[in-house]
């Protein structure tokens, strides 16, 4: 279907979706074009803002000058995270946390991960190591080994429930069935766990997870929390579904499963993109465009042996020197130089050296974002998405 929009966003990840929410709320007519589902589906669902230090906002001051956060400004960062929370609570996926305080969640390996905003189902995941933790798992559940966790905490125990199914998706589906939920709760009560908190892998339902979680907590009268799993990750999916539904509610048109086939330009303006697919190719026209296609994992950037390209508009890509310098010898070392690569932008989020005036770039495709090194994944995507939308909204 052809269409004419104020703003066309390429890439339906955290950044593109938040830009879409912001623009729709400004009254703009918006379309999102995405090749597929974004990496937030694979994430813990928690919003990392900046992992270093206790106060992420304070830490931003000490980031290198070219880090994308430095373009955003504290007010916009705070406002964008607040906007995110409002949207998610309207979509049955409330988040808790304080922008000024990092918190910890428990990982399936029994370690802690530092993050900032968390879904309510993980509100109590930050516990003191003296406190008793009872880990629940499911019979033959794939990729979840409670012993990893209990081996790290002296004061812990573990019980296994037989759900009749063993994958993350199928157990989560069962939890939305009343009878299953009641059986689970009465089994849990029967365990007579004497004290402390109850940790359950993140399979407590799909769309109605918050209801399921609240009911379990209330029935047990205890602090319960979810542990994010390896993908498929329910909290990541709930986050994605929540934002996508927020877009639909705002009349944003989605062209999903579609890739850009060609771009029409006139002078310094992009006029339209044509989408590839079976049948007639759709022509999507816009006054302004936002590029939010993510980094290498999502396909926004593509690397060959010694070069990198940007897949939608063929923008120039910044690379940190020659291939030899891209990677650190220690795989687990924080920050490989290749993480710096991406699109360089000016103060108004326009790509430099491209001479296009109505294109704005946001999210992990931005050069120097170094998401892994700084632990700023979703937070940076949200903040730059909303900031780029603010500039773009004035124009479109």
């Amino acid at each position: 279907m052809n269409g004419t929009y104020d703003v066309v966003i390429i890439g339906g990840g955290m950044s593109g979706m938040m830009a879409a929410v912001a623009l729709a709320d400004m009254g703009r007519k918006v379309a999102v074009v995405s090749r597929g589902d974004p990496v937030c589906c694979l994430s813990t669902g928690c919003i990392d803002v900046l992992a270093a230090g206790n106060d992420p906002l304070e830490g931003i001051g000490s980031l290198p000058d070219n880090h994308p956060y430095r373009l955003v400004g504290e007010d916009t960062l705070k406002a964008s995270l607040e906007m995110f929370r409002t949207v998610m609570s309207e979509e049955r996926g409330a988040y808790v946390g304080d922008v000024h305080a990092n918190r910890r969640i428990l990982t399936p390996l029994g370690r802690h991960k530092i993050t900032c905003l968390v879904p309510v189902t993980m509100e109590f995941a930050d516990f003191h190591s003296d406190e008793y933790i009872h880990v629940i798992s499911f019979n033959e559940m794939k990729d979840f080994y409670p012993n990893y966790i209990t081996s790290r905490y002296k004061n812990s125990g573990c019980s296994i429930f037989d759900a009749g199914v063993s994958t993350t998706m199928s157990i989560a589906e069962r939890f939305e069935n009343r009878q299953f939920l009641e059986e689970f709760i009465s089994w849990l009560k029967g365990l007579d766990i004497p004290e402390g908190r109850i940790a359950i892998p993140a399979v407590l339902g799909m769309h109605f997870a918050v209801n399921v979680y609240n009911e379990i907590s209330a029935e047990l009268g205890r602090k319960v929390f979810e542990i994010p799993t390896l993908p498929p990750s329910m909290p990541g999916l709930r986050l994605f579904d929540g934002l996508k539904n927020a877009l639909l509610k705002r009349g944003v048109n989605l062209y999903w499963g579609k890739e850009i086939y060609s771009v029409e330009k006139s002078g310094s303006q992009i006029e339209a993109v044509t989408l590839a697919g079976a049948g007639r190719s759709a022509r999507v026209q816009g006054n302004a465009f936002i590029l939010a296609t993510g980094s290498f994992v999502s396909g926004g950037l593509h690397a060959s042996m010694d070069a990198a390209t940007e897949t939608a508009f063929d923008l120039p890509v910044y690379l940190p020197g020659k291939r030899e310098s891209w990677f650190n010898d220690d795989f687990f070392a924080p920050g490989h130089a290749i993480e710096k690569s991406g699109i360089c932008v000016d103060q108004s989020f326009r790509p430099v050296d491209s001479r296009i005036e109505n294109l704005f770039v946001c999210g992990s495709i931005l050069a120097f974002s170094e998401v892994m090194k700084y632990g700023c994944g979703h937070g940076m995507a949200i903040a730059t998405g909303v900031a780029a939308a603010n500039v773009c909204g004035e124009l479109a």
Binding site: M1, G36, M169, E176, G251, G279, R280
Partner: protein, 406 residues
């Protein structure tokens, strides 16, 4: 052999989107059934993966994969392989030929409509592997293939062939005629030439030969009209997917590409007429809160949600779009006893999401979705065009449209 499967990075995004593997542990899901298993398959070996049939071809995996792998297509090819080499159960044979079934049923409609709800009939159907949890759709004697074949002014600048599909033809011919008359009222010349089933049910039941036979016939007829300046209009989103994706794709029919490039969803076409200022309709208010269940195959078409674009213009109409659930019926899939449990579980989940927003009615472009979801939610279901036609019936009289003037 198609090598797209090599692009798979095993991210599991498709797995998260697969409705079937979520409720049926016997189906390993799109990643394993698609790209993972593909590396062990060869073109000249018989598949032994019995579970391959459990995929409903909802295409959700295809829409979600960020790396262009298209597991649904890999699985479909394997289903066809499997179907060609193994005995197909009676239920599959019946549904592959649902076109003839519909044709016969409509001739003897009064008898069929009375027999279908009877206990004995149900028991017999069950023995043959056909599920009866849903009330069977009613059949009509006055099918579309027996209706007036053209409507609208001969000299209209806009001309379309209406590909109405089996569901409208046999089960809702009244709606088919309304759509025809509606298009004519927009100043469009409408032709409903003789046509057969799009072929999707045959393909979905592993019978590619029958599917190809149907597709060839349709493509020849449609291409003839396209050459004379007609566009093709469909309302059923699964027919639409067959015309645009499978005719030039797996079915490889002559003129497939031409048909694919010239087919429009009805609502997409109406929006196009508006964009071109061919019509400037006034939308009359329709005061309802509706849940719009997006059929999986509308998502797979990748044309956005055109009916939603029209709903926005209808005063008083409050629309909540629901696209996270598959209704579970997937055409004839859920009518097979072996899939009944899957279909029922998915149907209940999708219906719960609908009931949760407490709508006056539910809307869906797919006849199967409507049957399934009306059954599980108890909420009446309509096609989006029914609302559109209602809103524009009056609005067209007062509007300015140039259709047919030159």
């Amino acid at each position: 052999m198609n090598l797209d499967f090599q692009h798979c990075i095993r991210c599991t995004i498709c797995v998260a989107n697969c409705p079937v593997s979520r409720v049926n542990p016997d189906f390993p899901g799109p990643k394993q059934a698609g790209p993972d298993a593909e590396r062990f398959r060869s073109d000249d070996e018989t598949s032994i993966d019995k579970w391959i049939r459990l995929c409903s071809q909802c295409k959700r995996c295809e829409v979600s994969c960020p790396y262009g792998v298209n597991p649904a297509q890999i699985i479909l090819r394997e289903q066809v392989q499997y179907g060609g080499k193994h005995f197909r159960p009676l239920a599959s044979r019946v549904f592959a030929n649902n076109y003839w079934l519909g044709a016969v049923n409509s001739v003897i409609a009064p008898i069929v409509n009375r027999l279908a709800p009877m206990k004995l009939t149900k028991r017999i159907l069950n023995v043959f592997g056909i599920s009866t949890y849903l009330p069977f759709p009613r059949f009509h004697i006055h099918t579309l293939s027996r209706s007036w074949r053209w409507k609208g002014h001969r000299k209209s600048r806009k001309k379309v062939v209406f590909f109405y599909g089996c569901f409208l033809n046999y089960n809702r011919p009244d709606l088919g005629r309304d759509v025809r008359d509606f298009l004519a009222s927009l100043g469009v010349r409408v032709i409903m030439p003789r046509q057969v089933c799009c072929g999707l049910p045959a393909l979905g039941n592993g019978d590619i030969e029958t599917a190809r036979k149907f597709a060839r016939k349709n493509a020849r007829i449609l291409a003839g009209y396209i050459d004379r300046g007609y566009d093709v209009i469909y309302t059923c989103t699964s027919c639409g997917l067959a015309l645009t994706q499978d005719y030039p794709g797996i079915l490889e029919v002559p003129h497939g590409r031409k048909v694919s490039e010239n087919s429009y969803n009805l609502h997409e076409y109406v929006l196009k007429l508006m964009e071109e200022h061919y019509i400037e309709p006034v939308f009359e208010p329709f005061h309802r809160r509706v849940a719009y269940h997006i059929p999986c195959h509308l998502r797979a078409l990748g044309i956005g949600y055109p009916a939603a674009g029209l709903f926005e213009k209808i005063p008083g109409l409050e629309v909540v779009i629901l696209e996270d659930n598959c209704c579970g019926l997937s055409g004839s899939y859920g009518f097979k006893r072996s899939n009944e449990d899957t279909a029922v579980r998915l149907g209940i989940t999708a219906a719960r999401a609908i009931k949760d927003i407490d709508p006056d009615m539910l809307v869906s472009d797919c006849g199967a979705c409507r049957m399934q979801l009306a059954h599980f939610s108890g909420i009446p279901a309509v096609d989006p065009s029914e609302i559109l036609i209602k809103s524009l019936k009056e609005g067209l009289k007062g509007s300015r449209f140039q259709g047919g003037k030159n």
